[in-house]
Symmetry: C2
């Protein structure tokens, strides 16, 4: 698998690309797009003057502005990289400036709500092709991004049924250029798949870190010291951006509650097995889950190094 | 922090050390003890002829045998590195061969049950000093171990109240020599601390991987493809040794059920916040949990690199 981006293109994929929101994802796209020369002109808009100043310092775009409406003027591709809760306001602000034939996309983790919030504002003649690169880290902000973030990860496109195939292909080419694999599915199916592979895992990680923090019999210092026993891995996930994740849960309520219901049922069964000393039930589940790990490594979504190849090749989940 | 073990000792810490069970932990101790020359003679016992053959091939000990009773004869320090469920049988087998003044220790993840199962078999004049190095990876077996596994990790000693201070100090010196920090606490407190920092995290990781595997609307292939959204980290934990973990849950039932009860209460509150759209409650928790992550990094129990410094410096918890 390539660990690096390819060489810069001779001709850009889009004459003008505008990124709105230069956090981890937006700034990673900017870095990769600049390196690969995917845009004739790359425009960065962020509501925060501190962020736009930093974007200029880092040289992440040709133009950096706090004015999203001005930023999309003349753009062929506009990508929203802001929390889903801000979509409606951003879409309303930029709509009058979108040129005919422009493509509007995003990188949000929920796709039903993304479409619902964007679609009413998109003028006729503008193509809406929502997307979600399944990639990230626990860090936030324009300094956290890096150009190789999307390599060998999956980007999911959720175009509406009547989407223009040429526009869908253009977005597909964009994500392929960043090194991603691309899959197309409905927004509804996306939200179900991500509820179990991403949203519920984040929720229970946030939850157990909160539970541990509230214990009166175990000190915080003990929780931190002995975190190598497994807890540590949850804290990484539970360090992800609070605003983004609040918006994920508020905007994928139905699928998250459905998956959480199943998780709770299964956990109740495990709890019962522990209470009644049913070792066979525990052993059977623990054996079955090992196989899934092997498959994830086999398809290249993970390293086989112990403990993710942490310092010294392994100091992880403890016993 | 040292990433390497120090130089070999001029005089061993113990004349004769016997390790029983040469899996991940036992073979890591063997590698480190050999490198550091902590033992005049290092004896390895494992019930599996395949494992003892492999121990010989890897040169992990001076003597490798399937006969635990013979192996402890003349030993100054005996360390059980087998699943907790096997303690009673092993202790009964070795008891007649333990020499007066010997120290018996272990590496098990539950300490109340460890003591309860070992103590009845320990002859007068032999010192029982249970221990738990909070370190490990998701891999098992004699090939999975490595000498630096315990460096900068914590080893917890849980000697009974009437333990011989010299014996406790000897075990402490042993773990310090392997690079560990050492803390002493009661078995009961250990089991409570580890229930929240290790046992419940493992249980919910096993559980969610099982829940995902059983979904009918989402294919296994989708779960695996899009695992970079957070799920992947849980699969690593859920790939840990099934026998060992079955025994942990059967032998730390009370503390695990207590912590699981708290986890469930907190999760119910989060579930309710999602259902009723209480974004502030979600945001407040997600902000609070970030601080705990920072503390874990600050005390050196984790790397600050995004996504544990996976390949390309980050491809992790997704959005």
């Amino acid at each position: 698998m390539p660990d690096r981006l390819g060489p810069p293109r001779d001709t850009p994929l889009f004459e003008r690309i505008t990124l709105i929101g230069l956090g981890l994802i937006g700034s990673s796209i900017a870095r990769a797009a600049r390196h690969l020369k995917l845009a004739g002109t790359l425009v960065a808009a962020d509501a925060s003057p501190e962020v736009t100043a930093r974007v200029r310092e880092l040289g992440l775009a040709d133009i950096a502005t706090t004015d999203a409406a001005a930023a999309v003027s003349g753009a062929d591709l506009v990508i929203l990289c802001v929390p889903v809760g801000a979509y409606g306001a951003v879409a309303e602000a930029i709509a009058p400036q979108l040129k005919s034939g422009a493509i509007v996309s995003d990188v949000g983790s929920v796709k039903g709500a993304a479409f619902a919030q964007l679609a009413p504002h998109i003028p006729a003649g503008v193509h809406l092709v929502p997307a979600h690169p399944v990639a990230g880290t626990e860090h936030s902000g324009p300094d956290a991004g890096f150009a190789t973030l999307f390599i060998d990860r999956w980007s999911i496109l959720t175009p509406p049924e009547d989407a223009d195939p040429a526009a869908v292909n253009a977005v597909r080419s964009f994500w392929r250029a960043l090194g991603s694999n691309v899959e197309v599915m409905t927004a509804q199916h996306h939200d179900l798949v991500l509820a179990i592979t991403s949203h519920v895992p984040h929720l229970i990680a946030y939850n157990i870190v909160g539970t541990a923090a509230d214990l009166e019999e175990v000190t915080q210092s003990e929780v931190i010291k002995f975190s190598a026993g497994g807890f540590r891995d949850f804290t990484r996930i539970a360090a992800s951006d609070p605003t983004m994740w609040r918006d994920v849960f508020l905007n994928n309520k139905e699928a998250v509650l459905e998956m959480l219901g199943r998780f709770n049922e299964d956990l109740a069964a495990l709890q019962r097995a522990i209470r009644w000393g049913d070792g066979q039930a525990l052993f059977d589940l623990f054996t079955r889950t090992r196989a899934i790990r092997r498959n994830i490594i086999a398809v290249g979504q993970e390293t086989a190094e112990p403990d993710f190849g942490r310092r010294r090749g392994g100091d992880g989940d403890g016993q």
